[in-house]
Symmetry: D2
Subunit: 328 residues, 4 copies
């Protein structure tokens, strides 16, 4: 059993906390949150104790920390963990500031083999099967791909204001997906964006819809489509195109019930909440983290992936602002 600390008792922290508490090889010892009440409530539910940040990094009995706190604290917690020699499972992004991140990279190196970055889509059974079947050669080499990543409804404008903007907050998952599937350095980014969902998002300095084209040196291309509001649920599709055809992951529905009426056949609603949509991915991620702690696995997604995805986000934001293609 490895002793784990949860930093952050919010929505995603609660998910990770429960998966850790239920995992046979992990023991959730502490929950830490600046809002003491939140920490106490979650710790009680999960059979853990409340502690302070200083306490947990100083405690030699602690093997690992899960960073599920607010974005601006991610990098500091990772650095503390690296210093204290503790493994880290950090929610994305490592940081919103690419320069700062690059500057601190050497300090993260000690924990590079034990830092898992929370791009949970890589652990979703559907995307994982897609990746496996691509790599098994089912459609030959990938040539182009499409990522549709549409949220059901926008977050509060207050969140958007501190989110780092659409590309760093939302598209960053898609950049990681593109990198994972393409398996090749992306050398060129073009992005164009609009503010069509809510004028308040524009007033907060952000966009709410974007279309992006990535290109690799060998000419492979990836289109990404983003919107903060789909109007029909959580739309998370990936389509891969190769010489031998197409492999794709579709959306999940709430049940398999289908109705037939004069209007035709109608399926049930799409899943419309990411915590439900990715429930099994979060479980698989906890399991992978346990294997890393046991020395049986290297992180499937780690520091260099976080840096690369952030670089693409910065490039996309620049392209959308200037109207020019950005070479990497």
């Amino acid at each position: 059993m490895f002793n784990v600390v949860l930093l952050g008792a919010g929505r995603i922290g609660a998910i990770h906390g429960r998966n850790i508490a239920n995992h046979p090889a992990l023991y959730l010892k502490y929950v830490v949150d600046p809002i003491g009440d939140a920490a106490t409530r979650l710790a009680n539910t999960l059979g853990a104790e409340v502690a302070s940040t200083d306490q947990v990094f100083a405690d030699p009995a602690i093997d690992a920390v899960v960073v599920a706190s607010s974005t601006d604290t991610h990098l500091d917690h990772c650095l503390s963990a690296a210093k204290a020699g503790k493994a880290v499972w950090c929610e994305k992004p490592l940081d919103l500031d690419l320069d700062r991140l690059n500057e601190k990279l050497p300090e993260l190196q000690p924990v590079a083999d034990r830092l898992l970055l929370g791009f949970q889509r890589r652990f979703d059974p559907n995307f994982r099967a897609l990746h496996n079947r691509l790599n098994a050669g089912e459609i030959g080499e990938i040539e182009t791909m499409h990522i549709i990543s549409h949220d059901p409804a926008p977050p509060p404008v207050s969140y958007i204001a501190v989110s780092g903007g659409l590309f760093k907050d939302m598209t960053i998952h898609d950049f990681d997906m593109a990198r994972w599937m393409l398996g090749e350095k992306i050398s060129q980014v073009y992005a164009t964006a609009s503010n069509l969902v809510d004028p308040a998002i524009g007033q907060a300095g952000d966009v709410d819809m974007a279309k992006i084209i990535l290109k690799t040196e060998s000419g492979k291309m990836c289109v990404i489509s983003n919107t903060r509001r789909s109007g029909y649920g959580y739309d998370q599709r990936v389509e891969l195109y190769g010489q031998g055809g197409r492999l794709a992951v579709g959306n999940m529905v709430e049940t398999t019930v289908e109705s037939w009426t004069e209007k035709g056949a109608a399926a049930d609603s799409f899943e419309n909440f990411f915590l439900t949509r990715y429930a099994s991915a979060y479980e698989a991620e906890a399991d992978h983290f346990a294997n890393i702690l046991a020395g049986q696995d290297k992180p499937l997604v780690g520091i260099s992936d976080g840096v690369a995805a952030l670089e693409l986000a910065v490039a996309a934001a620049q392209s959308a602002t200037t109207g020019n293609v950005v070479q990497l």
Copy 2:
């Protein structure tokens, strides 16, 4: 070019008439209908002439007749054609009276190789592909099958009163489908039926919903589901089950447009009219009839199929009335 006469200028006559008129090897010479106006209107549209029944059977220039007149005239027209040595394409059923039909069979024999019976589903590209793939061994030998044959809405009660009843009027198509797919003598019939759609149908002495189980001597089974009113369109599915899996034909939709809303994905309406649903089957049937006339083909469905389907309909009606299984 073969000279063809159309007997019957109603709905189905109009379809066959147009397909004959457009066929490069067929020439529609005459249209015959007791309602002179109907005959004249259709003949004018199709570039044909109006004639009487006597006239056309006596005309040595006529190669073939298409019997699309009212059901009670089918057998007489077929007998006249057999006597006059003309090929026949007869709408189902040959007759509603099994005893009378059996009695007249010897007189039909002369035209047996040139009498095409209008079970149009055998010419539908979907059912034809299903039959081909079954016979190519794709799922091994067929073991059981399901036929769902639901009409969008009931015909007028006046029609039902002269239709011969649900089993002879509607299920007869499904009996032919079962025989075609099973490829083996059906030895046992159980049917049970209800009058749930419209009490007036019950008052006319008929039922409007039925479930039927057929069984062959080797133990293969077929379930048929019928209703006069589906509430969602024309439902014409066939599912075949064998050792290696399942092969099935689904329903057709009006367009491929699909909407995604908060309620989920919705397809377009199902086809809800048999003339549209089977448009290409009727064309293929005309083509097959031309090949029969040219001596290049034997009828894919003929007199013996008509007799066998009627026998099953009689057995089903008896089973539904007595509550007992009927052995054949």
Copy 3:
């Protein structure tokens, strides 16, 4: 927390054991199994202790027993529980012998409000949504229904020999489904069956494929299709037909990955194992059992449902043997 005993450490016992152990309101105290090793292994995994049957029924600290032992012990365990005043969650069937079951019914009465019968399909979110939407009037009153219940592959012949036969072992789930959806007494049963999958099943005195038609007094009809071997996975579909259309539950697939090649679009494999297919149903069932223990719920499916389903199974077996319809 309610103290629960698990009787039976086999495949289904392991599932229920884990769901009980993970449930916040249930405490798994003992595991009982005639094969001591099996009991020990499962108890160790779940943090429970091993005990004997006598011990657990005598222990006043025990609130409830879960009967997941071999079929021939179900009724005795239920009777012991009734006598000892403990709630029961019993896997189907209560017993294979209808006469014996009827005779013992009075002795079960004391626990009638706290005996949950394990027809897990009633707890599957898909079938539950189907039932809810039917009862919300979405297609009007139900008129007919189809149940397709095809297993991927037959169990060992040794199991079949003690299973009670296809109708009591497999169709019994479908009889319960029909009763649940039709909401009306079934008054008539017709069944016909074949032995087409494996001659050894026939030699063991059983059939391996069946088609069944149920009918209610008001004329509603239900078709059930069963096979011990589908050749394509676990096929568990239910289709409801009413005046306003059709509501249906389809099959589950392993992932949402779809391939497009020259041969067309292909989905991923169907779920082919009932423990995976019904994983969330088993969880929901454990939760419902906790609510029964807390006095917050009556069993959604209990003794009378078990008796009624067994009556239908007996009638179906009789019909298949005699070839006659059986009136209830």
Copy 4:
């Protein structure tokens, strides 16, 4: 009846010729083709006569010409028709040279109300239903859209060499689709392309895959995906996104047959030939042309649409070459 001339007896000419010959209001009088044999064969099949270009433009009995000849002759034939006062149905594109086309526009003006441009997708029942439902407000105002337009396999390199390049030859249909659906001026084009299908296409100076983003002044965006070789058939999808959800047109399959095996559910092959895929669109187009001749309709797609689509193709080619966004 209007007298019509067919210029061009190739593949598409044969389709239009047959639809004209079968149309009750059109009479196919002449077929013209530089390859005399081709003209003769087609004319014989359709019951028409062979003539020369000069002859038909001089013949006052001719009401209309259908331009289905090689691309380099389109504009000249249109100009001759305009001069001779004859209606024109011209296959796309009007011309490959935008400057030349702009220069000649005044000479085409006389026939502007009777020149139908052959963007046949506008007549496809699926795309037409999509357009109608969008304009009926089903998803509110359109915000973004995706066009997937993938050919099954590339044409001969000899054709590619004279095709005008991917954007003018293939994407031009998609530009017209985007304009039709967006209903708003496109002000910005970004395109990037690769040569991944066949090096010989690259050697011929063309690309074989492209991803394009169009943007309107109000910020609406359209992504287009093109490839000369899909590996799975003819992929022609359009997805519209608005405030209220998504409306999309999917692909067509050869039949509705579906197989279920251990590998899962598999549909039949996709349509893989544009003449089959758009058969009903070509019929509807002929019908629309008859209505134009009868003065009952203005062309649904005409000269200005041809110019606008060509402008977008020129801009896309320029963007793909320079790597810069092109403003219009």
